[in-house]
């Protein structure tokens, strides 16, 4: 009886605690500076291009970064010109995190702002499943859409579905994650992961005490946008000869993050810098230092309001590179321009602002909820602020 029960318990545990097995543990001690091998997602040319974009000047209205373009290369869209009002369809990878929730609300508000020109907006949520999104795109092709917006769940798997949509003859706009085909009219995204990772890592290396210990927190391995963030940070840390004592995966979970940071504080007595590839768990990391009675070291977060608030309240030494949610407005604007036969840039590289000590107050709106993203570019949209609360 007891043995049978133990076997049952064990097999349950195998499914209940599969997080450690989900990816190689980052805590394995690595040689040299502690940053380990370079990610196989790292592409030097892309890295160089993104870092140069960080200092490029955008064209377009300065107060509307979601309409701005970095290094534009215009393409002709006359063949898609069509009389409105239009039916615009959107195949969405998922709504499963606060970033996508804020982004989608922003997109809905943009559609409402353009309601004289959009007679119908169809949204299908693939719930994070490739197979569902492939089926969704296929279904949408039979629904008489005038333009199709796609936010792909994964790059390689969704490429054939997007190609099929292009062949159906309607204009396709892809944003956020990309696909391996040039057939969409335009691909919209901000500068990208290298820029994000570099900004945070450079700040932490410069602000921390020389020779200090850095803890790098990553969400999970194997996702291109996150791998690029880490690989750029690795380059920056290696260059600054920083002692990276740990690279850990948090699954984006605050409980796990707080435990990991706490473990490192206990193990090393103190940690002098924290870098993270996404800001969702930044507050948990700050709390780990506070609860251990240690000063919060220089760190980066993201533009989520809970982090901006604790940054200001506790006077942290911090920076917040962003992956702006205002990019959810751009595909609607792009689709309408294409249907007007206006030229658009392809690729459409959006600026990627950074929240710093100097402009913190401008982005910190204490009345918005903690999981809201400051860089939503949504304050002028219908239903602000209620829609985002």
């Amino acid at each position: 009886m007891a043995a049978l029960a133990a076997v049952t318990v064990l097999s349950l545990a195998a499914c209940a605690t599969d997080e450690p097995a989900a990816g190689p543990s980052g805590s394995a001690p690595a040689a040299g500076s502690g940053t380990g091998e370079q990610s196989k997602f790292f592409v030097q040319a892309d890295y160089d291009a993104e870092l140069s974009l960080l200092s490029a000047t955008a064209t377009g209205p300065a107060d509307k970064p979601w309409e701005q373009v970095l290094n534009p290369t215009m393409v002709d869209t006359a063949k898609f010109k069509k009389n409105g009002p239009h039916k615009i369809c959107f195949s969405n990878a998922a709504l499963n995190n606060p970033w996508r929730q804020v982004g989608f609300k922003t997109m809905q508000a943009e559609v409402e702002a353009q309601k004289s020109r959009i007679k119908e907006f169809v949204h299908v949520d693939a719930e994070g499943k490739d197979q569902k999104q492939i089926a969704d795109i296929n279904d949408l092709l039979g629904k008489g859409c005038d333009a199709l917006i796609v936010s792909p769940n994964t790059t390689a798997t969704l490429t054939p579905a997007v190609e099929a949509a292009c062949q159906a003859g309607l204009p396709v706009v892809v944003f956020d994650r990309g696909v391996n085909t040039k057939c969409p009219v335009t691909f919209i995204n901000p500068i990208g992961g290298y820029g994000f990772g570099h900004v945070g890592a450079e700040f932490v290396s410069q602000k921390m005490k020389p020779g200090g210990k850095v803890l790098a927190l990553r969400i999970l391995p194997g996702v291109d946008v996150l791998e690029t963030r880490w690989s750029a940070a690795k380059v920056a840390f290696d260059k600054a000869k920083v002692d990276v004592v740990g690279v850990e995966f948090t699954d984006g979970d605050p409980a796990k993050t707080k435990k990991i940071v706490d473990d490192y504080i206990q193990r090393y007595g103190t940690i002098d810098g924290v870098w993270m590839d996404a800001g969702a768990v930044a507050v948990a990391a700050v709390e780990a230092f506070q609860d251990a009675g240690k000063p919060v070291p220089p760190m980066n977060g993201e533009d989520q309001l809970d982090f901006l608030k604790i940054w200001k309240d506790k006077k942290l030494t911090a920076i917040a590179p962003t992956y702006p949610t205002y990019q959810w407005r751009t595909p609607v604007i792009a689709a309408l321009r294409i249907l007007d036969g206006e030229q658009v840039s392809n690729p459409w590289k959006l600026p990627q602002p950074t929240v710093t000590q100097e402009n913190l107050d401008q982005y910190l709106d204490p009345n918005m909820p903690p999981l809201h993203y400051a860089m939503c570019g949504c304050t002028d949209l219908p239903g602000y602020p209620q829609r985002w609360k």
């Binding site: 009886m1 007891a2 043995a3 029960a5 133990a6 049952t8 318990v9 064990l10 349950l12 545990a13 209940a16 605690t17 997080e19 450690p20 097995a21 543990s25 805590s27 394995a28 001690p29 998922a94 709504l95 499963n96 995190n97 606060p98 996508r100 929730q101 719930e127 994070g128 850990e248 699954d251 979970d253 605050p254 409980a255 796990k256 707080k258 435990k259 990991i260 706490d262 473990d263 206990q266 193990r267 007595g269 507050v283 948990a284 709390e287 609860d291 251990a292 009675g293 909820p369 903690p370 999981l371």
Partner: protein, 327 residues
């Protein structure tokens, strides 16, 4: 000059009774020495207090799990119950301090209700408890995802979080005494008193031999159902402390059911019921946490923790099986 009374004690102790707490005390002492050698600072009052505060939730869960295991059943649903409670609390409180106490009461009621359902399904419908509670585990995981669309919503108020995060500051000698530690001490004393009451004896008797208990007039189903309710309540308190410690999290309770069962087994409680002390179960949880702390000091990857737990549970069950067969 010694009286007869104290001399009989040392005579009885070395004969390690199955289910006794002596082995776990020895293991705990050895670990404390090892930690003391590696990281002497850890044993200073402030860090020891905060360690005990952080360990309070798993110790409470071990106590809750003890009631169920000693009565001859299992509760695999506590981990997902903790997660569900944290997510529900965040959504209902939605950062509004005024809702803190009503939600705390609601969580306790929710925990008791889940325990009641587990208990009734197990005892009245005669579904084996590890199937019942495995089903409950899956139901809760699915319900939480459905209810929250896969992303946590809302927020916990500072008033709610203080139970798991804050402490009495500047206490003489000890420094900082976490609220969680006080909650633990109060509930641990209550658990010990409960096990010394008639109910406690009945609970052990039910686990030892349900048929004999039934024949001597015990309502076995009611006793076991109460054990499940106690486990649900322990999960509710653990959820309040854990949610307070880490904030809204989808993994607040991940793997805790296994941790609690490992702790109970490590504490000398027999799987299958009838033997073991609640103090042993709680010391088992403390020992497990101390072992993890020691592994951390030696830089052992956190991923190995579940492997270590698996090893412990196999070893402990094997040892207790050999012992009981030679009884």
């Amino acid at each position: 000059m010694q009286t007869v009374q104290p001399r009989s004690l040392p005579l009885r102790l070395p004969r390690v009774r199955p289910g006794g707490v002596l082995p776990i005390l020895l293991i705990l002492a050895v670990l404390l020495v090892l930690v003391g050698i590696r990281q002497p600072d850890f044993l200073a009052p402030p860090s020891l207090m905060s360690f005990l505060g952080r360990s309070a939730p798993i110790i409470l869960l071990a106590a809750g799990q003890y009631f169920v295991i000693v009565s001859g059943e299992f509760d695999l649903s506590v981990g997902s119950l903790v997660t569900a409670q944290v997510v529900v609390a965040a959504r209902l409180i939605d950062s509004d301090p005024a809702r803190t106490w009503p939600v705390v009461l609601l969580l306790l009621a929710f925990g008791a209700l889940v325990g009641l359902v587990n208990g009734l399904v197990t005892t009245r419908l005669r579904v084996p408890s590890f199937i019942t509670t495995l089903g409950m585990f899956l139901i809760l995981v699915g319900a939480v995802y459905l209810w929250s669309d896969g992303a946590p919503k809302g927020g916990l108020s500072e008033e709610f979080r203080r139970f798991g995060r804050r402490a009495f500051e500047d206490v003489p000698l000890l420094g900082r005494v976490p609220y969680a530690l006080l909650v633990l001490v109060v509930l641990a004393v209550a658990a010990v008193l409960l096990m010394r009451s008639d109910f406690g004896r009945t609970l052990v008797a039910v686990g030892d031999n349900p048929r004999t208990a039934e024949l001597s007039g015990v309502r076995v189903w009611r006793t076991r159902t109460i054990a499940f309710i106690l486990s649900g309540l322990a999960a509710a308190v653990a959820a309040i402390l854990l949610g307070g410690y880490s904030g809204v999290s989808f993994q607040a309770g991940a793997g805790l059911e296994f941790g609690a069962i490992t702790a109970v087994v490590l504490g000398g409680v027999a799987l299958g019921g009838g033997r073991g002390a609640v103090v042993g179960a709680m010391l088992g949880a403390l020992t497990l946490e101390l072992l993890f702390a020691l592994m951390n000091f030696y830089g052992v990857s956190g991923a190995l923790r579940s492997t270590v737990q698996g090893g412990i549970i196999l070893l402990a069950v094997a040892v207790s099986a050999t012992r009981s067969s030679s009884r």
